[in-house]
């Protein structure tokens, strides 16, 4: 396959298309996934290829959608349940955390739940407090769930394809501000295997650890830092479960400094977990305390000016890193 220009949205769509073509057990179920083509257009026109039997439009009943997907997955189907907004996790955490995540364990390993919950989160579209959150910490805090958060179109494709081969429930959180982002990529091979982080930009002075849309915020900051003579390394975690601390720790041991960047809010969050682990694993190598740059501990406001102020922007990263390096 040659390199092609593709959006994050179309890469996801391609992944579903390819998975459905290769595997008859893959069915897509959710609100507006069929005729409408998905609220963000990810399943657009798939119904023409696979019909209403495999692109299943449901009533607005998130707990029953996720629950039905759990049941279908227990029989060996691979449902892709679409949760239109990650904010709706509040409606379905019972089925995810108490059912999907526990079934393998509490039934002694006799059965798994090979399902994918596709959803999207984050800011960038003035969608307001109930449609803009970054709730990955809720998922990450639940043993038994896999968690993927792709930043690039290539990862959107490959991580989703891989998720649809796994024997366990995967929560797949896309970013609403990335759907239209185009990149030139070759979908023939992934940048790294599932579960492995990747270094998006190499550098020797500081490690910026991040994922999803914040990868691009961090890369922007790293480019600006380079102009000031600071070489920042940017690590894209790609999946939060599994969490590839090996790549992170190796980098931090080289650079001696770590900044964790997340769109999800600061307190009790993913950034705290990453900072703690870096502290535990790299203490002797650290020149400075690990710094967290995360979303503000506020509901996400609608006003674009306020919304962008609620999440990390490149200038904050730049100034934190400069302060760290005293330059």
């Amino acid at each position: 396959m040659a390199a092609q220009e593709i959006t994050y949205r179309d890469a996801l769509r391609q992944a579903l298309d390819d998975a459905m073509r290769d595997d008859e057990t893959v069915v897509v179920i959710g609100e507006e996934v069929g005729r409408y083509g998905g609220a963000y257009g990810v399943t657009k026109d798939l119904i023409a290829s696979y019909g209403e039997e495999r692109l299943i439009d449901t009533p607005i009943s998130e707990p029953a959608i996720i629950g039905a997907a759990v049941g279908a997955a227990m029989t060996g189907l691979r449902p892709v349940a679409e949760l239109m907004y990650v904010d709706f996790l509040g409606l379905v955490m019972d089925q995810l955390a108490n059912q999907a995540a526990k079934i393998r364990y509490m039934f002694g390993g006799q059965i798994g739940v090979p399902m994918v919950v596709r959803t999207q989160g984050g800011t960038g579209r003035s969608a307001g407090a109930q449609h803009s959150q970054s709730l990955e910490a809720w998922v990450m805090h639940t043993p038994g769930l896999r968690l993927a958060m792709p930043a690039t179109a290539a990862d959107a494709y490959h991580l989703l394809r891989h998720a649809l081969t796994l024997p366990d429930p995967v929560v797949f959180i896309e970013h609403k501000a990335l759907y239209a982002r185009k990149e030139r990529t070759d979908l023939a091979a992934p940048v790294a295997p599932w579960g492995q982080a990747t270094i998006r930009r190499a550098g020797s002075d500081v490690t910026l650890v991040t994922y999803s849309r914040m990868v691009f915020t961090a890369l922007e900051a790293a480019a600006a830092l380079a102009e000031r003579g600071i070489a920042a390394e940017v690590i894209d975690l790609r999946t939060l479960n599994p969490l590839d601390m090996a790549t992170v720790a190796a980098s931090v041991r080289r650079t001696g400094r770590a900044v964790v960047v997340t769109e999800s809010c600061l307190t009790g969050g993913v950034a705290a977990e990453l900072a703690a682990r870096i502290g535990e694993e790299c203490f002797d190598y650290l020149e400075d305390p690990v710094i967290r740059i995360a979303g503000e501990d506020v509901p996400i406001p609608v006003s674009p000016a306020l919304e962008s102020a609620a999440i990390p922007q490149p200038p904050v990263i730049i100034s934190v890193v400069q302060r760290m390096l005293r330059r």
């Binding site: 707990p63 029953a64 039905a68 049941g71 227990m74 189907l77 393998r104 006799q110 896999r146 024997p167």
Partner: protein
């Protein structure tokens, strides 16, 4: 007795008569002697199993939650008799009877109650959480009502695969107040999924009587707005249960969509082992036990059908031996290996913590 009248009235209020014509449950013809003897065996097996589980709990050999099924045996035994191989069963946490009726090994169930290595879930599930692929038993779920959505998903998978299996999804009258039950009804009716919903109305959700928890007084009609036909069944009569279930399962298997049966039943013991059941009178329980007991009812019918006392005695003796074996097995089985703590969280071979350690 199956009470068909009400369900038909309810069904007619639904918007599409074509989809809601209730099966007219047959007058109970009876199982016949041979089948009733099997039912008798299964009910006695469950009763004795639960009595022994209660004893082991009292001795401290079973910890945690333990919800006994005593009193309700006719429900699962009668429904199970209406099923075919391949039909699936899913239920809540009062699940021992469902597992035994499905043919799961009493030794493995009891060993799970004692939390031992040879239990169905190797000690990690306990009383509420067991599973058997072989017997198509899908658990054993602890969150009230959550299994209703999952059971609906089992039916979805059956329809998707085009097989003729039916998913039997049990829940209590307490769970019938949960929202996702009605989300599931809507989806099952829309998609005409082959799911038999069985409400086991034992009158009390923990300590709250159904009169105090449900504004609906005929739970069999709770699916009526979605055109799901329903019937109330005397859940203390295994033959009535079998007949109603057979008609309902036939409806589901024929591709006519979901069906709802409300089993009017009664649990003799508390909600769980820690429940002294002070919310009802001793007389109420005693009256059910003496006048409505499902095992005694089957026994009397068997004798009337010409079964010999010795035949019934032989069944009881065989069950006694089986239960003793299960209890011995459950106490002899070793505790789980401590390393099992970290297994089966996820299937993959990534480190159990799912963190690739950097050390």
């Amino acid at each position: 007795m199956v009470q068909a009248g009400k369900s038909e009235r309810g069904a007619k209020t639904a918007r599409n008569d074509a989809t809601v014509t209730a099966e007219k449950p047959q007058a109970v013809a009876g199982l016949g002697r041979a089948a009733l003897l099997r039912a008798y065996h299964d009910m006695v097996l469950i009763r004795r199993f639960e009595e022994r589980a209660g004893q082991l709990y009292g001795m401290g050999l079973i910890g945690g939650f333990c919800h006994l099924y005593i009193g309700q045996e006719a429900v699962v035994v009668g429904v199970q008799m209406a099923l075919q191989d391949g039909d699936q069963v899913i239920t809540s946490y009062r699940d021992h009877g469902h597992m035994l009726a499905a043919g799961m090994d009493p030794r493995g169930v009891m060993a799970e109650l004692t939390g031992r290595r040879d239990g169905y879930s190797h000690g990690k599930g306990g009383s509420m959480h067991m599973f058997s692929r072989e017997k198509n038993f899908f658990g054993g779920h602890g969150i009230v009502g959550a299994q209703v959505s999952i059971g609906t998903g089992l039916a979805f998978a059956n329809r998707y695969r085009g097989n003729d299996r039916v998913s039997v999804t049990y829940f209590g009258e307490g769970a019938s107040s949960q929202g996702q039950v009605y989300e599931s009804f809507n989806i099952a009716a829309l998609m005409k999924l082959p799911v038999l919903y069985v409400i086991e109305n034992n009158k009390y959700g923990m300590g709250t009587s159904v009169d105090r928890s449900s504004a609906s007084h005929d739970l069999s009609q709770n699916g009526a707005p979605w055109g799901i036909p329903g019937a109330q069944v005397d859940g203390m009569d295994v033959e009535a249960v079998q007949a109603a279930a057979a008609a309902a399962v036939a409806h589901c298997r024929a591709g006519r969509g979901p069906y709802l049966l409300e089993m009017k039943t009664y649990r003799y013991r508390g909600h769980s082992m820690s429940d002294p059941a002070k919310y009802r009178t001793r007389e109420e329980v005693q009256k059910m036990r003496t006048e409505r007991d499902c095992i005694e009812h089957a026994r009397q019918h068997l004798l009337a059908l010409g079964a010999a006392e010795a035949e019934l005695k032989a069944i009881e003796e065989a069950v006694k031996t089986q239960i003793q074996e299960a209890a011995d097995f459950a106490q002899a089985s070793p505790e789980p290996d401590p390393a099992e703590l970290w297994t089966d969280v996820l299937a993959s071979d990534v480190a159990a913590s799912d963190v690739v350690a950097g050390a």
